[in-house]
């Protein structure tokens, strides 16, 4: 394969095609021309806009979200001379990427790969990520995959130029890679998210963006994207509200006009049950989005864009049958991510409530549903998607037929000793997500959780444990074929820890073309509107490189629009 010509989407206007025809290589040559003069977010004189909105501020480009897509978008737009304002809902930058382990799928034959002897080209990247063997390749928009592949070498240099420090390539290919393209960044010093490295991506880029004159308006939530008329014309600006640490509104609406473009980079929809159940109706409210301590990922951008006509793209990519988009996670805390957590010293820890417990050996627990009954072999690996099918199956709530309700890890005092768990705060969240009892009946009665629709039947829990203990005697799990059950649950006190599956990324979102322009339901470009990262659909690649690649493309493209 050779590099494909740039395309803007299946059906684009002549104007849009002209925009899209900008040679991507021109991005590089003009990139360093902008100095560090702060020109973003000039204080606009209140003025009546054509659509009768009173604009409080005015800039060339508004970026919604200061994460892995938004920060590159802002930097790229500044490189092209546009004034840029980022609005960010949280009280700190970083978004979902802050809790990332900081590995980018980036390659194409760069100098670090060459030093390792790794053979890689953009064509190989495309071939790998368009592979049909697994859903994330099978259902991806190959135009977007090709664009990702063609930009990979440039991205390596461009990110390095803007402050990213590379640590090392991971030792083996993963996901769809056949070459080693997973490159770790160097973590930001003294960051209080552990063991995440994502800070090493977003902190340097935020510093660069600020140095270049990008203004970042923290604790401002976008509530609406305005368009010249309801379903036609350019996007004109956004409305925001200032929010507190709990995302509650603090002030009146602030309307910000965007002369050239609006880039949606709000982190996806994993934390919005109403939105995500469009794709999988089982994913009801009890399933938490991992790491929502840092970013809610409530589909704010997708919803606002859809309200003015945007379509969704690549919806077949959004499956929880693949790629750890659902996982067992930690136990004993609500937002039970699997790997990275904010430390108790983090200003974000108040949203986490606890660090959670890592189960080292699932022989030490049984997993029961809200009804006190086991449902699967507890020791299956995280990739066993039949486990999740069982976990998400209905158990009897007459008022809620979708979703499977809470899952609880049940264990005893001996298991605590074997796992060397510390059950004191901040390790577990005793405010609804971790319980203890002197007996099994008392434990069941003590479970009081917002998603537990009825008290757990104590007799059912006891029966489950007694039956399981007999399997330990006989050596055979006659119900779920757990490999040689090893330990009884017998010594008091007894414990129940939240072990409900947690949700990971979003692989669908606003439909975009290869210029990251948002498309409407008829495949037409919505002039001035862009999307990237988990807010954009069509490319089932996990991680921050997809976000950064299309964020950068969006920033460059938007900056070159007519004001």
């Amino acid at each position: 394969l050779s590099n494909s010509p740039k395309k803007s989407g299946p059906e684009t206007s002549a104007h849009d095609q002209a925009d899209a025809a900008i040679d991507r290589r021109s991005f590089l040559t003009s990139g360093a021309a902008v100095g560090a003069v702060a020109v973003a977010a000039m204080p606009a004189q209140p003025a009546k806009a054509a659509d009768d909105i009173r604009w409080d501020r005015e800039v060339d480009i508004i970026v919604i979200g200061a994460g892995a897509g938004g920060l590159p978008a802002a930097i790229a737009a500044r490189e092209k001379g546009a004034s840029v304002l980022i609005v960010e809902k949280n009280f700190d930058i970083g978004g979902r990427a802050m809790m990332s382990s900081g590995g980018l799928y980036i390659g194409g034959g760069n100098r670090m790969q060459k030093a390792l002897g790794v053979q890689d080209t953009p064509d190989l990247i495309f071939a790998d990520w368009a592979r049909p063997e697994r859903p994330m390749g099978r259902f991806s928009d190959r135009e977007l995959v090709r664009t990702h592949a063609d930009n990979s070498l440039e991205m390596f240099d461009w990110l390095e130029k803007h402050g990213i420090k590379w640590e090392a390539y991971r030792p083996a290919p993963d996901r769809l890679d056949r070459s080693r393209t997973r490159l770790n960044v160097v973590p930001w010093p003294n960051e209080i998210t552990g063991p995440a490295r994502g800070s090493g991506f977003v902190r340097p880029l935020a510093a660069t963006a600020r140095r270049m004159g990008v203004e970042i308006l923290l604790q401002h939530q976008m509530t609406k994207i305005h368009r010249a008329s309801h379903l036609s014309g350019r996007v004109t600006g956004i409305s925001t509200i200032e929010v507190d640490n709990n995302y509650q509104q603090k002030t009146q609406t602030l309307n910000i006009r965007a002369r050239k473009g609006i880039i949606v980079a709000t982190g996806g929809s994993a934390g919005n049950p109403t939105f995500r159940t469009m794709f999988d109706v089982r994913l009801t409210a009890e399933y938490q989005a991992e790491n929502s301590e840092w970013t809610q990922r409530t589909a704010d951008g997708e919803i606002a864009a859809m309200e003015i006509g945007a379509a969704l793209g690549g919806t077949a990519c959004q499956t929880v049958q693949e790629d750890h988009l659902i996982n067992k996670g930690r136990i004993g805390k609500k937002s039970n991510g699997g790997l990275t957590e904010p430390y108790p010293t983090s200003p974000h820890f108040f949203r986490a409530g606890a660090l959670g417990l890592v189960v080292g050996n699932y022989q030490n627990v049984i997993l029961v549903k809200e009804n006190g009954l086991r449902f699967y072999n507890e020791t299956v690996p995280n990739q066993d998607y039949e486990y999740y099918a069982a976990a998400l199956a209905w158990t009897g709530d007459p008022k809620k037929l979708n979703g499977g309700g809470p899952i609880w890890a049940i264990f005893d005092a001996d298991a605590v000793t074997r796992e060397k768990w510390d059950l004191k705060p901040p390790h577990v969240d005793r405010n609804g997500y971790f319980f203890s009892g002197d007996t099994l009946e008392e434990l069941a009665a003590n479970i009081n959780n917002e998603y537990q629709w009825r008290p757990m039947p104590g007799a059912a829990l006891r029966k489950s444990v007694e039956r399981y203990n007999s399997f330990v005697d006989t050596g055979v799990d006659a119900d779920f074929k757990k490999p040689r059950p090893m330990y009884k649950i017998a010594k008091p006190p007894f414990y129940a820890a939240w072990s409900t599956p947690a949700l990971h990324d979003s692989y669908t979102g606003i439909r975009i073309n290869t210029s990251a322009q948002a498309l409407d339901l008829r495949g037409k470009v919505i002039p001035g509107l862009y999307a990237c990262g988990d807010s954009a659909g069509g490319f089932g690649q996990h991680g921050i490189c997809r976000a950064a690649t299309f964020g950068r493309i969006a920033g460059f493209h938007a900056a070159q629009q007519q004001a």
Binding site: S100, S101, G102, G103, D174, R175, A196, R197, G198, E290, D323, H324, G337, G338, L339, T340, G360, N361, Y362, Q363, T379, P381, N382, Q383, D412, A413, D438, T439, L440, E441, E442, G458, R462, E466, N469, S470, V472, D473, T474, G475, P483, R484, M486, K488, A490, K491, P492, P493, F494, H504, H542, G543, I544
Partner: protein, 330 residues
């Protein structure tokens, strides 16, 4: 309820007489009474009840300063109406303990006749009835050896928990076999099991069955003469009884890639379990026979195998590392 909202206008509706000659409730100063929260229909004996009285007049008057009584069989407890909001007046807390006997109980919530801000209110009473019931109990049984040698003596522990967290010292525990026959007993002590809030426990000495097999016995709690009535309860537990060992199986566990000895690997031979030590060795004493031999360590696998033990035996098992349960995040 706020501590000191502005007082409502004093005086109820202007005095009027209905056509039947009866003054309206507002003029006569009648009130409605209720407890907050409502007293449940069943209350475990000896369990303190905490509630407030809520009083409202037809006109929604501010009655702060007025009093409310609770009349029990042996005393009268009074509280002052302290808070007022939205036409509702609330007293301070009543904290009362029902009798320690089982049965029906009726207390009287009484708003005595009294004059408040120039309005004469008539006495109003509300019976508050409930039933005192025994405390529930539940059990735990642990430290049961399995397998146990047939005919051997062994001990186990049984703990009992009162739903009222009562001290259960002196209560009896019986162990019963599958036929229901009592085969052991113990008396609950007065020290809770470590880390529990109020699990009172005892140790019971037992004789193992004379035959091999899987047994399911039960522990039964008899409240007996505890100060407060409790409901009896029971739980079941299982164990395997086996013959005396004749041979020793030594299992050496190594890493299939590096051949290094592996510690802390769980080994199971039929009903017997052990864990490998620092040298990768696990020892199991067993009678002769055919057994399934299984090993378990997270992240590794080894095919289960069947083994015949006819003499002291040494087996080496190489564990194969599973593909990492990939930490794909990031």
């Amino acid at each position: 309820v706020s501590a000191a909202p502005p007082r409502a206008p004093k005086g109820d509706a202007p005095a009027t007489i209905d056509s039947d000659g009866v003054a309206p409730a507002a003029q006569r100063g009648l009130v409605n009474l209720e407890t907050v929260p409502p007293v449940p229909p069943e209350v475990p004996v000896g369990t303190g009840l905490a509630f407030q009285a809520r009083v409202s007049s037809a006109a929604g008057s501010d009655l702060r300063g007025g009093s409310v009584n609770v009349v029990t069989a042996d005393k009268v407890v009074s509280r002052v109406l302290e808070e007022y909001r939205d036409g509702l007046n609330v007293t301070g807390d009543f904290t009362l303990t029902p009798p320690e006997q089982l049965g029906e109980v009726t207390w009287i919530l009484q708003f005595p006749g009294q004059e408040i801000d120039g309005i004469a209110y008539e006495e109003t009473s509300l019976p508050v009835s409930f039933k005192t019931v025994p405390h529930r109990t539940s059990l735990a049984a642990w430290d049961i050896p399995s397998p146990v040698l047939i005919g051997d003596r062994f001990t186990m522990k049984v703990g009992a928990k009162s739903s009222g967290a009562c001290n259960l010292k002196g209560a009896k525990v019986e162990i019963r076999d599958e036929t229901g026959a009592t085969i052991g007993h113990g008396t609950i002590g007065d020290t809770p099991w470590p880390e529990t809030s109020a699990l009172f426990w005892c140790e019971v000495a037992l004789a193992a069955p004379p035959n091999e097999g899987l047994f399911s016995w039960s522990a039964a709690f008899a409240a007996g003469d505890l100060t407060l009535p409790h409901v009896d309860s029971s739980t079941t537990f299982s164990f395997i009884a086996v013959k005396r060992p004749e041979h020793r199986l030594t299992v050496k566990i190594i890493d299939g890639d590096s051949a290094a000895a592996m510690a802390d690997v769980d080994v199971a031979l039929g009903p017997y379990r052990a864990a490998s030590d620092g040298a990768g060795l696990a020892h199991i004493d067993t009678p002769a026979g055919h057994y399934n031999l299984a090993v378990w360590k997270p992240g590794f696998e080894a095919a289960p195998l069947t083994i015949e033990i006819t003499a002291d035996t040494v087996v080496q098992i190489a564990l194969k590392r599973l593909p990492e349960d990939v930490k794909l995040w990031g």
